[in-house]
C-alpha cells in the first residue's frame, strides 16, 4: 500500500474567489426567497426609522447652516434685563449700524370682545426687525400699523384660541390697542415657543403708556444690530465683549444661535435616533431568531454537502451570502421607506421645527442606513450561521447525532462583536462613548427584564393553566410551547414596543397629575406677581372681595451673587470649577420669613434667626439641589449684591422643597428683620376653582391693577397637556416602529412554523376537528401571545415608570388604567390579526395535500 503524504495542500478559496458558494447560495435561496425576504423585512422598519431620523437631522443641520442669520434676525443681538445705557449705544456706534430694539415681559392682556384675559409674552418692538429672514403677518401691513403705537399683533395660535379678529381690541396694562392682525412667522418665534408663551406684539414706544414697567418688573431688553460686513461684526463683538461683564448684559451671535439651536436639535435627535435604534435592534433579534431556525433546518443539507466534500466555511458561506444579500435588500427597502417618511415629517411635525425644511434626500443618511443594515444583518446572523460550519457529516447517517459543544474562535469573536455593536452604534448616534455605553447597558437590562418577565409569565401560565379548560383553550395554549415557535422572542419584541408606549403614558399621567393639584383643596392654583408695595393691600382686598382665600402674600427682593465662600464670582469663573455659569450670574429672587411653608422641610442645619447688632449674624437657608449646584454647605459664606448694597450671609440650613406644591417657592430664604426696607415687590397666591369665577377675578385684576400679572396654573396644565400630546406623538410614532418590527418578526415566525402547523392541523382534522375549531385554536393562540406580550410590556412599564417618576422626575406615580388597557388592547388586536392573516393557508390547506408533501 502506498503511504500518501498526510498533510493535504488544499486550495483555500475565500468567499469572493469561490464561485461555487455563490452558485449554491442562489440554487438554495431561490426556493426560500419569500421566507428569506421576511427575515430581512424585520430590518426594514428599523432601518426606515434610522434613515428618517438621520435625514431629518441632516436636513435640519443643513438648514441651520444655510439660514443661521434668519434665525437670529440680525448679525448680533445684545440682551439685558436693564434698559440700555448710552455707553452701550456709543460702543455699538449706532450711527453706522442699523439697529432694532425690543422689550419683552410677561403680562396680562384682556380680550375686549369677550372680556377674557390671559398671561402672554408681551413683546414691544421698534425698528425694522428682522434684518434677516422675514416676519410674516396677516394682513401684510399689520406690522406697519403696530409701529403707529395704536395697534397690536397676536401670535396666530393665540388669536385662534381666543377668536380674535381684526375688528377687536385688547387691553394691555392701562392701554387699549386695536388688533392689527396675526403673526404667522417671526425669527426666533413660532412652534413650541408660541405654545408655551404666546406673544402679543406692540410698539416699543407704546410700552411706557401701558404702565407695565414698574419697579421689580422682569423685562428683557434686546438690541438687534445689522452690520455691513463680517469683519465689522467681528469688530463689534470685540468692542461689546469687555463691556458685557462690566455692564452686566449678554450678547448672542449668529454662530451662538446656530450652535445653541443645533445643540438642542442634536439632543432631541439623539433621543429619537436611539428610539429608532431600538426598533433596529428588535429587528436584529427577530432576524437572528429566524436565521437560527433556518440554519437548524438546513442541518441535513449541510451534512450532505460536507459528505461530498464541502468545507465548513463553504457551507457557511452559502447561507451567509443569502442572508447578507437579503439583509442588504431589506436595508435598501428600509432606506427607501425612511426617505419617504422623511418627506412626511416636515408636514407632521412642523410645529417643532422653526425652519422650513427642503424636501432634500440625504445621501449620507441613506448610506449610513444601508451600511448599518449590512452590518447588523452580518452580525446578528453570524452566531446562528456559524453553527453551520460545525454540522457533523455523520448526521447523514444518524440524524440525531450531536457533536457536543463546539468551541470556536469565530463564535467567540461573533459574541464579542454582537456585544460591542450596540455600544459602538449608540456611541456613534450620541457621539459619546459614555452615553453609548449607558444606552447599551440600559437596553440590555430592558431586554433582560423583558425576557425574564416573558419566561416567568410562560412558566406561571403553563403551571397554573386550568386543566379542566376546554380542548380548544388548552390546545391553543400548548401551541405556544411548540418547538421553533419563537414565543419568547415575540413576547420580547412586541412587549418592548408596548413597554415604550406604556412607560411614556405613565410618565405623562404622573407629570400631569402633579400639575393638576387634585390632592390638597387648599393648595394655590393662581399666582399673582409684580405687585408693587403700594398695591399690596388693594390686591389682598380684591382677592377677599371675590371670596377667594389669600394663601400667601410673599415679598420678593432681587439680588445677585458677588462672592461664594470668600471668592469673587469672577475668580470662580476663571477657576476650572464645575459651577455652572447661570448659577453664578443669574438674578436670584429671594424672600424673608421665619418659618417653613407646607412645601418645605428642613433637612440639614437650622432655621435662621436674625439678632440685630450682632456682627456676621445674617444667615439664610438654601434649597436642596441648589447647594450642590453652588457647591456650598451649612456654614459657608455668600456675598449678595442687593441692588447695589453688599450683604454677607452664612448658610444656616438646607431645605427640601416640593417645587410644584403651594407656589411660590424660593432658593434662598432670609430671616425677618433684614430685608424689610429693601426695594421689593410682592407675590400673592390664591385658589380659584370655578372657571367663571377665575375669569371674573382676572377681569377685575386687569381693570384695577393692570401691571399685576396672573399665572393660572390650570392654563399651564392645559399647555403641558398640549405639549405632551405633541412630543408624545413623536415618541409613539417611533415606538410604533418597534411594534411593527415585532409584528413582522411574528409574521416570520408564523411562516417558519407553517409546515409543522399544517401537519398538526391535518392530525386534528383526521381526528375529527372542524375548520371552525382549528380557526378558533389559531385565534386563541395569537390572543394568548398578544396578551402575554402586552402583559410583559405593561409589567415592565409599571416598574420602569415607577422608577422614573420616583427617582428621575421626583413626582408621584400615577397610572391611568383605562389608557394602559387601551394600549394592551391595541397590541393584542394587532397580534391576533397578523397571526391569523399569515395562518390562513395553514387553516385552509386540505389534509391530503399535506400528507402527500410529507410522504
Amino acid at each position: 500500500m502506498i503511504e500518501y503524504i498526510i498533510k493535504i495542500k488544499r486550495i483555500q478559496k475565500n468567499i469572493f474567489q469561490d464561485a461555487w458558494v455563490w452558485k449554491m447560495a442562489w440554487r438554495d435561496g431561490r426556493h426560500n426567497l419569500s421566507r428569506l425576504f421576511l427575515f430581512s423585512a424585520s430590518l426594514i422598519t428599523g432601518i426606515a426609522a434610522v434613515v428618517a431620523i438621520a435625514s431629518l437631522n441632516y436636513s435640519l443641520q443643513d438648514e441651520l447652516n444655510r439660514n443661521a442669520k434668519e434665525l437670529l434676525g440680525a448679525d448680533l443681538v445684545i440682551n439685558s434685563n436693564k434698559k440700555f445705557t448710552n455707553e452701550i449705544f456709543s460702543a455699538i456706534d449706532t450711527a453706522k449700524q442699523k439697529i432694532a430694539e425690543d422689550a419683552d415681559m410677561a403680562s396680562m392682556v384682556m380680550f375686549m370682545h369677550t372680556k377674557q384675559s390671559r398671561l402672554v409674552k408681551l413683546t414691544a418692538i421698534k425698528g425694522d426687525f428682522p434684518f434677516y429672514g422675514e416676519m410674516l403677518t396677516l394682513p401684510i401691513n399689520a406690522y406697519q400699523l403696530v409701529k403707529t403705537g395704536k395697534y397690536a399683533m397676536l401670535d396666530e395660535s393665540l388669536a385662534t384660541q381666543y377668536e380674535v379678529s381684526s375688528e377687536d381690541s385688547i387691553k394691555v396694562g392701562n392701554t387699549i390697542f386695536k388688533v392689527a392682525g396675526v403673526v404667522t412667522k417671526i425669527p426666533g418665534g413660532g412652534g413650541l415657543t408660541s405654545t408655551l408663551a404666546p406673544a402679543v406684539y406692540i410698539s416699543l414706544d407704546a410700552l411706557d403708556s401701558t404702565g407695565l414697567v414698574q419697579f421689580g418688573s422682569r423685562v428683557g431688553y434686546s438690541l438687534y444690530i445689522k452690520t455691513t460686513t463680517e469683519s465689522q461684526t467681528k469688530l463689534l463683538i470685540d468692542r461689546v465683549k469687555p463691556l458685557s461683564k462690566k455692564l452686566g448684559f449678554g450678547y448672542e451671535t449668529v454662530e451662538a444661535r446656530r450652535e445653541g439651536l443645533g445643540q438642542g436639535f442634536r439632543s432631541v435627535y439623539q433621543f429619537f435616533s436611539l428610539l429608532a435604534f431600538v426598533a433596529l435592534v428588535l429587528g436584529c433579534i427577530g432576524v437572528a431568531s429566524s436565521v437560527h431556525i433556518y440554519a437548524r433546518e438546513k442541518r441535513d443539507e449541510v451534512a450532505v454537502l460536507r459528505c461530498v466534500g464541502s468545507s465548513g466555511w463553504q457551507a457557511f458561506n452559502i447561507y451567509f451570502i443569502q442572508i447578507f444579500i437579503l439583509g442588504l435588500a431589506g436595508s435598501l427597502m428600509g432606506a427607501a421607506l425612511g426617505v419617504g417618511i422623511h418627506q412626511i415629517i416636515p408636514y407632521a411635525f412642523k410645529e417643532y421645527i422653526p425652519l422650513k425644511l427642503e424636501f432634500a434626500i440625504s445621501i449620507r443618511a441613506i448610506l449610513e442606513g444601508i451600511f448599518l443594515g449590512g452590518i447588523v444583518s452580518i452580525l446578528f446572523t453570524l452566531l446562528p450561521l456559524i453553527s453551520v460550519r460545525f454540522v457533523p457529516p455523520l448526521t447523514v447517517l444518524r440524524a440525531d447525532f450531536n457533536a457536543g459543544k463546539i468551541r470556536s474562535k469565530s463564535k467567540n469573536a461573533a459574541i464579542v462583536l454582537i456585544v460591542l455593536f450596540p455600544i459602538l452604534a449608540a456611541a456613534y448616534q450620541t457621539k459619546s462613548f459614555i452615553s453609548g455605553g449607558f444606552f447599551a447597558v440600559g437596553l440590555g437590562v430592558a431586554l433582560a427584564c423583558l425576557t425574564a418577565v416573558a419566561y416567568a409569565l410562560l412558566f406561571l401560565v403553563r403551571r397554573y393553566f386550568p386543566t379542566n379548560a376546554s380542548f380548544i383553550w388548552r390546545h391553543a395554549m400548548s401551541n405556544l410551547f411548540r418547538p421553533n415557535n419563537q414565543t419568547r422572542v415575540l413576547m420580547v419584541a412586541i412587549g418592548l414596543g408596548a413597554f415604550i408606549i406604556a412607560t411614556l403614558n405613565i410618565i405623562q399621567n404622573s407629570l400631569l397629575n402633579q400639575v393638576e393639584f387634585t390632592g390638597n383643596k387648599n393648595q394655590s392654583n393662581t399666582i399673582l406677581f409684580d405687585i408693587q408695595p403700594n398695591q399690596k393691600k388693594g390686591v389682598v382686598k380684591l382677592i377677599k372681595d371675590q371670596k377667594l382665600p389669600v394663601n400667601q402674600v410673599v415679598p420678593i427682593i432681587t439680588c445677585r451673587l458677588k462672592e461664594l465662600k470668600g471668592k469673587t464670582i469672577e475668580e470662580i469663573q476663571k477657576d476650572t470649577t464645575r459651577i455652572p455659569e447661570w448659577a453664578l450670574t443669574r438674578e436670584y429672587r429671594v424672600t424673608y420669613r421665619d418659618s417653613l411653608t407646607s412645601s418645605e422641610e428642613l433637612i440639614k442645619g437650622e432655621l435662621p434667626k436674625y439678632v440685630p447688632g450682632k456682627k456676621d449674624s445674617v444667615r439664610v437657608t438654601i434649597s436642596e439641589g441648589m447647594h450642590e449646584t453652588l457647591q456650598v454647605k451649612v456654614g459657608d459664606s455668600l456675598l449678595f449684591d442687593l441692588q447695589g448694597v453688599p450683604l454677607k450671609v452664612k448658610i444656616s440650613g438646607i431645605r427640601k422643597v416640593n417645587w410644584p406644591k403651594d407656589p411660590p417657592n424660593f432658593i434662598f430664604v432670609f430671616p425677618t428683620g433684614i430685608l424689610e426696607k429693601a426695594p421689593q415687590i410682592f407675590v400673592a397666591a390664591t385658589r380659584v376653582d370655578e372657571p367663571t369665577q377665575a375669569s371674573k377675578f382676572q377681569q377685575a385684576l386687569v381693570i384695577n391693577f393692570p401691571n399685576v400679572s396672573l399665572i393660572d396654573l390650570r392654563l399651564i396644565l392645559s399647555t403641558v397637556t398640549e405639549l405632551f400630546g405633541k412630543i408624545g406623538l413623536v415618541v409613539r410614532f417611533l415606538a410604533l416602529f418597534s411594534i411593527v418590527t415585532g409584528l413582522i418578526v411574528l409574521a416570520g415566525a408564523v411562516i417558519n412554523s407553517k409546515f409543522i402547523r399544517m401537519k398538526e392541523n391535518v392530525l386534528l382534522r383526521t381526528l375529527g376537528a372542524r375548520t371552525s375549531q382549528i380557526t378558533k385554536i389559531t385565534l386563541i393562540e395569537y390572543a394568548y401571545l398578544g396578551i402575554f406580550s402586552a402583559l410583559t410590556g405593561m409589567i415592565l412599564s409599571l416598574g420602569g415608570g415607577w422608577l422614573l417618576t420616583r427617582f428621575f422626575f421626583e413626582v408621584e406615580f400615577a397610572v391611568n388604567t383605562f389608557e394602559l388597557l387601551a394600549i394592551s388592547g391595541g397590541v393584542i388586536f394587532l397580534t391576533v390579526f397578523i397571526g391569523w392573516f399569515n395562518s390562513r393557508e395553514v387553516i385552509s390547506t386540505p389534509p391530503l395535500q399535506v400528507l402527500r408533501k410529507e410522504s
Binding site: M1, I2, E3, Y4, I6, I8, R10, I11, K13, W20, K23, M24, R27, D28, R30, H31, N32, D300, E301, A303, V304, L305, R306, C307, V308, G309, S310, S311, G312, W313, Q314, P392, P393, L394, V396, L397, R398, K853
Partner: protein, 230 residues
C-alpha cells in the same frame, strides 16, 4: 495482491450516554483492496453504521487508526477529511440524501463543482442517462420517486470516479422491484468502474452479492466470510 484502499486498525468508538461511556465499536480491524467489494452485516446496534462513518471519515475513532487511500483520517481536520472524501469517495445512502433545493442535474454536478472542475454538464448528463434518468434531469427530488432519487444519488456518487464507494442500506427504502434494479445497477457500475464497494446492510441476499462479508455483533467484528463465486 491489489492495493489496499481502506485499512482500519483496532478501531474503537465510545460515546457518552448520560454519565456513562458507551462503546459502540470495539477493536475492529479490517482492510479492503482496490476493486473489491465487501458487506458489513449485523443486527441493529451492532456498530455497522458507526464503522461505515469512521471508514468514510465522517467521524473519528476514539482510538485506533483508519487509513483511506493512504491518508490517516484520524489525524486530519474535518475539512481535510472532506477534501479526501471529495477526491476519492462516493456515497449512496438509505435516505438518498439529495439536496432538495437542487434539480437532479444540479445534485449530480455538486461533487465535481466542489473540486472546481469546469465543463462537467455533459458528464452529469451522461451519468443521469446511464442511470436511466436522462429525461428527468430538471426534476427536483420531491418530484421523483424513491427509486429515481436513489438513481440520482448513484449518478452523483460515480460522477467523481471514486476509488471507494460506501453504501448504507442502499435498498432499505425501496420496494422489491426498485431494490432489485438499484442493486443490479450498483454492482454493474461498480464492476465497470473498478470501485471498491463497502456496503452496510441487513439484507443478507444483497450482502451475498459482494466478495466478502464482515459480521458485526455488539460493536465487535465477529466473523469474516469470503464468497469465492463473486
Amino acid at each position: 495482491m491489489s492495493d489496499i484502499v481502506l485499512q482500519s486498525e483496532h478501531l474503537t468508538k465510545t460515546y457518552r450516554s448520560g454519565d456513562r461511556p458507551l462503546t459502540v465499536l470495539d477493536d475492529v480491524s479490517f482492510q479492503a483492496e482496490q476493486g473489491t467489494s465487501l458487506a458489513i452485516i449485523g443486527p441493529s446496534g451492532s456498530g455497522k453504521t458507526t464503522l461505515l462513518g469512521l471508514c468514510a471519515g465522517l467521524d473519528v475513532p476514539t482510538s485506533g487508526t483508519i487509513s483511506l487511500m493512504g491518508f490517516k483520517l484520524n489525524a486530519m481536520s474535518e475539512d481535510d477529511r472532506a477534501y479526501v472524501r471529495n477526491q476519492f469517495v462516493g456515497f449512496v445512502f438509505q435516505n438518498f440524501q439529495l439536496l432538495p433545493t437542487l434539480t437532479a442535474f444540479e445534485n449530480v454536478m455538486v461533487p465535481l463543482e466542489l473540486r472546481g472542475e469546469k465543463n462537467i454538464a455533459a458528464k452529469a448528463k451522461d451519468w443521469l442517462a446511464r442511470v436511466g434518468l436522462g429525461d428527468r434531469m430538471n426534476h427536483y427530488p420531491t418530484q421523483l420517486s424513491g427509486g429515481e432519487q436513489q438513481r440520482v444519488a448513484m449518478a452523483r456518487a460515480f460522477m467523481t470516479n471514486p476509488r471507494i464507494l460506501f453504501a448504507d442500506e442502499p435498498t432499505g427504502n425501496l420496494d422489491e422491484e426498485n431494490a432489485s434494479q438499484i442493486t443490479q445497477l450498483l454492482f454493474e457500475i461498480n464492476r465497470e468502474a473498478k470501485t471498491t464497494l463497502v456496503l452496510v446492510t441487513h439484507n443478507l441476499e444483497l450482502a451475498q452479492k459482494t466478495e466478502r462479508i464482515l459480521q458485526m455483533k455488539g460493536g465487535k467484528l465477529v466473523s469474516e466470510k469470503i464468497l469465492i463465486n463473486n
